[in-house]
Symmetry: D3
Subunit: 129 residues, 6 copies
């Protein structure tokens, strides 16, 4: 049954985060492979496979939480990609960040918008190829 969690977590991770998510897991291989396993089994196999919220809603929540926590720029980049992958428009990603201003203040929103700018540009460059 563990296999099931791992398998469905991998599927969900690939669906949401695509290559960037898999790169995170791969980068853990030599240093902390169990951490990668828990991300797949628990974060994606358990939590992201639950019912009750759409994948778009889950990604809105995730990018909001990462923006608010601060200092999570690499994970924010992965999940801005994730948000776009599940169909959230770039404009809506920015709108979600603007909604955070009253609750987190401007600096964290500025940091998140700057990450979004990089992600959007990278994706346009790739798609432009």
């Amino acid at each position: 049954m563990e296999n099931t969690r791992y398998q469905r977590g991998t599927d969900r991770l690939n669906e949401v985060d695509g290559n960037t998510g898999q790169n995170v897991i791969d980068s853990l291989e030599t240093i902390a492979p169990d951490l990668g396993t828990y991300i797949i089994e628990f974060a994606f196999g358990d939590i992201y496979c639950r019912e009750g919220l759409s994948l778009q809603e889950r990604e809105l929540i995730t990018i909001t939480s990462l923006l608010t926590a601060g200092g999570c720029e690499p994970q924010l980049a992965v999940h801005i990609n994730g948000a776009l992958n599940v169909g959230i428009s770039p404009k809506k990603v920015i709108e979600a960040f603007i909604q955070c201003i009253p609750y987190t203040g401007f600096p964290k929103v500025l940091n998140a918008v700057n990450i979004a700018k990089k992600v959007f540009t990278e994706r346009e460059t790739k798609e432009g190829k």
Copy 2:
């Protein structure tokens, strides 16, 4: 035009947070009335009146940000009420909190669920009257 911001902010505050929001503004009257004005004009008149996200999406983002920040229990109570007021089900509020576990850890989610429990009970008691 400032008047417009204040008026539409008041309307939006009442729509989203209802009495609990107005109570926050009233409690500031003798100590920091300008703070109340900024909440109405900027948070509700500017940000909450923007297009691009539904009110349900805005409240999902707000409760996620407050959960993640930590130490914002009173504001979380106001906005759990707000989430229910704009049509999010209690079950979905809890689901949003569960989505935060991988990003914030269990303790902040436990704190938020405990606040939700109180809010849900208070509302049931009122509705039961």
Copy 3:
């Protein structure tokens, strides 16, 4: 196999946190039972059952993390109890908090010490009975 995770998680939770841990799980029954399940399966069944650190070391890490996060007083109370349950002396709990001063500043350490004071007193009262 899920059953195994749940079973060994329950055993570990009881070993570490005793009644106070079980109370947390029970309090989630009517509001967010899956959150309780994840705490048991993932936090205690997966993480707390790993090798490589003693239970005393795990509890030192947990109370340090909770102190540093701030705003996690209820969870800190549970895990100060946990620390004592696995054989850390009250004096060593305080010493761990003092070690945090240079990294977190005094206020969070003061908050943690005040929680410890309550926990120590409650246990002495119970044991005195």
Copy 4:
């Protein structure tokens, strides 16, 4: 020479925080007396006795830092008292909190204003006697 640090720290603590500061030190006597000693020697004997900032500026900085950290309500109450003790007006305390809105968001400012409200009322009650 240690004695000098302790002595001048005690003097400064009394000058800034008055009774409320001494109460914090006293409350640590049975649980973590060394923590009280470090607060006196390091925070007040070393840092608060430095030149280059007035005591009013030091208290402005302290209450800003405590507001921003969040979850430090007891310490914020002590240092709002401290700010008033060194001659900052209640109005200026509130103004400092309002200056934090763009950087921390509204919730932490609301929490701090609510603590200020309690402190101001307590002092008025005492002075009214």
Copy 5:
């Protein structure tokens, strides 16, 4: 009247942050122009134009809040520049950071001092030209 807020916000932003502030606004032009507008209208047009604190006091508060929040290095660089622009000496900036040690611990103060070091050097280089 909105125009007034925007105009006086721009004036204040230029007065406080100079080029570095305007660069932040410009960098938002293609990605989130409204965010730039809110920074000008609300942070600078509303908050920074209030009475009750000098600009030097406002900048002391801002750099303290950014230091304490952590992870806001770009904004801290802008406002260390702002602090110097409104007449705070480099020595006093460092002294403000040292005052934060007891409340935030050493790591965040070290991060802020390292940013200050870069800002001071950049300004000396420019002035030396």
Copy 6:
């Protein structure tokens, strides 16, 4: 007696953090030398010289606190080195980070593991010479 604190602090700093710690102190020489003095006297002369915890336990606590705070990557690198210097194995450092997942979530643990990866590689490279 101050001299004693400084001397024993320097000894302890060198014992724990080795060159990387001394580099931090040296980097402060021209910008904030007193900050370096306080790190030596208070953090290392006072706190790290206390009894009641082994140096290994102190470093476990320190890296946990730095991971949880977030945004303290440079200090985390210094103290991962410190942990290894006092005899904690690389595997145990990673295990301590994994223990933090339930309390801080995955992103901060990922950040810490990435720092550890760099530190381990640097040390292997040096030792390989």
